[in-house]
């Protein structure tokens, strides 16, 4: 029964991916991509990776989808790009099928018994006082990856801001819509945002012992911020705002500071002070969640459009 479910899910995934690749219309392709991301999240649940499923749905499908939909709206309706040579089509299909078949053969030939670090994580996890092994790997055993990932996220925002027009490198990003928010949007923002913020904070708090964590929580909080912007409940912040920039830097630099302090307290970079591991880990998680939420929201809003003319 579950095998049948898996087979149907795999077929749907493939259909979604083919839909994205084969659709000529940009908007339809992006919407198919969002659906594909949700199905991929379901596949992650079936692979017993609930943390990855939450991240895929929140970031890979949700926030990516919003960014791409905004991109579609900003682009001209008919791209001038020339259609690729039809003779290349069978060749490209053959290359892709060959790659897929080779990868499929490699998947079927994976070594038995499978290599695993699960036992190592299980022996080391009690020292961190965390219950969720994925959070343990992200924030303790592979903390350097997570730190660098935060830096990449910040650099991505710097890149987006750098694409503003020359005289307009300060100020607020363009509003999402030129018209005032319709009443249902405003109502939705007022009703849903408090609940959503609560869900986001719960994901952060529960992430220590259950599926969830800084990234999933940050994505939910960013979505709530965007909902409030769409409902005209809050103004888009100006990018030179000091408080905003502090929030952007709190995560990566707070994490880095804890990392350097690790030399003094634990004798190793990114080590946590013995005895107070969990408190420091939660403080780091709160700081990076705040930075993730603000960074994701600002990436969606796009480059600043210049000082206001009043």
């Amino acid at each position: 029964m579950s095998l049948l479910f898996d087979a149907v899910l795999c077929l749907l995934l493939l259909a979604g991916a083919l839909g994205v690749v084969a659709t000529g219309a940009a908007r339809a392709a992006v919407i198919a991509f969002i659906g594909y991301g949700l199905l991929l999240g379901l596949a992650w649940v079936r692979l017993a990776a609930v943390d990855v499923a939450l991240t895929e749905i929140a970031i890979g499908s949700g926030i990516s989808g919003v960014v791409l939909l905004r991109c579609v709206r900003a682009l001209p309706a008919t791209p001038k790009a020339p259609a690729p040579n039809p003779l290349l089509r069978p060749l490209a299909a053959m290359v892709s099928i060959a790659i897929a078949v080779a990868l499929g053969a490699a998947v079927l030939a994976l070594p038995e018994p499978a290599p695993s670090r699960a036992a190592d994580v299980a022996t080391a996890l009690p020292a961190t006082d965390l219950g969720n092994p994925v959070t343990g790997v992200l924030l303790v055993f592979r903390a350097l990856d997570t730190l660098l990932e935060k830096v990449v996220l910040l650099l991505s925002l710097v890149g987006v801001w750098a694409l503003s027009r020359d005289p307009a490198c300060r100020g607020r990003p363009d509003p999402l819509s030129l018209e005032p928010a319709p009443a249902p949007s405003a109502f939705l923002a007022r009703v849903l945002a408090p609940v959503g913020v609560l869900v986001g904070l719960y994901l952060l708090w529960a992430g220590a012992d259950h599926p969830g964590g800084a990234f999933q929580s940050g994505a939910v909080l960013a979505a709530m911020g965007l909902l409030l912007v769409m409902g005209d409940q809050i103004r888009i912040p100006a990018t030179q705002n000091r408080g905003l920039r502090l929030m952007l830097l709190a995560g990566p630099f707070g994490f880095l500071a804890v990392g350097f302090a690790g030399w003094a307290t634990a004798g190793v970079f990114l080590g946590y002070p013995p005895g107070a591991e969990k408190a420091v880990i939660i403080a780091v998680e709160v700081a990076i969640t705040l930075s993730i939420a603000v960074t994701l929201g600002l990436i969606v809003l796009g480059p600043p459009a210049g000082e206001e003319r009043s």
């Binding site: 898996d6 940009a26 017993a48």
Partner: protein, 106 residues
């Protein structure tokens, strides 16, 4: 043949779809989407590796899971930056076209 193998094969097929899209998509946006599908397939194969490494009371090996989470985030960063570049490029193109028309009139 188990469900885990099935997802591995689906991941391989998704990579194939992504490569085809990268080669044949008519516009840059289509390539960005195809790149994401390719990445999704690679992550799924990695997820199969994690599931096969289940043990010590965990449903899947947590190390590959954490790496995939990091990967999803980095892929998002690249996607967002590429989308922003694309928007700016089309704005510059529109400006150039407008300036060209003005020059013709004068």
């Amino acid at each position: 043949m188990t469900g885990v193998h099935l997802f591995g094969l689906a991941g391989a097929a998704l990579v194939g779809c992504g490569v085809y899209g990268l080669l044949m998509a008519p516009g840059a946006l289509g390539r960005i989407l195809a790149f994401n599908i390719l990445g999704g397939g690679v992550f799924l194969i990695f997820g199969v590796v994690a599931r096969r490494g289940a043990g010590a009371g965990f449903g899947a090996d947590p190390v590959p899971q954490a790496l995939v989470i990091t990967g999803i985030v980095v892929a998002f960063c690249a996607t967002a930056l590429a989308a922003a570049l694309l928007v700016r490029l089309s704005a510059v193109d529109a400006e150039v076209a407008r300036d060209g028309e003005k020059e013709k009139e004068t």
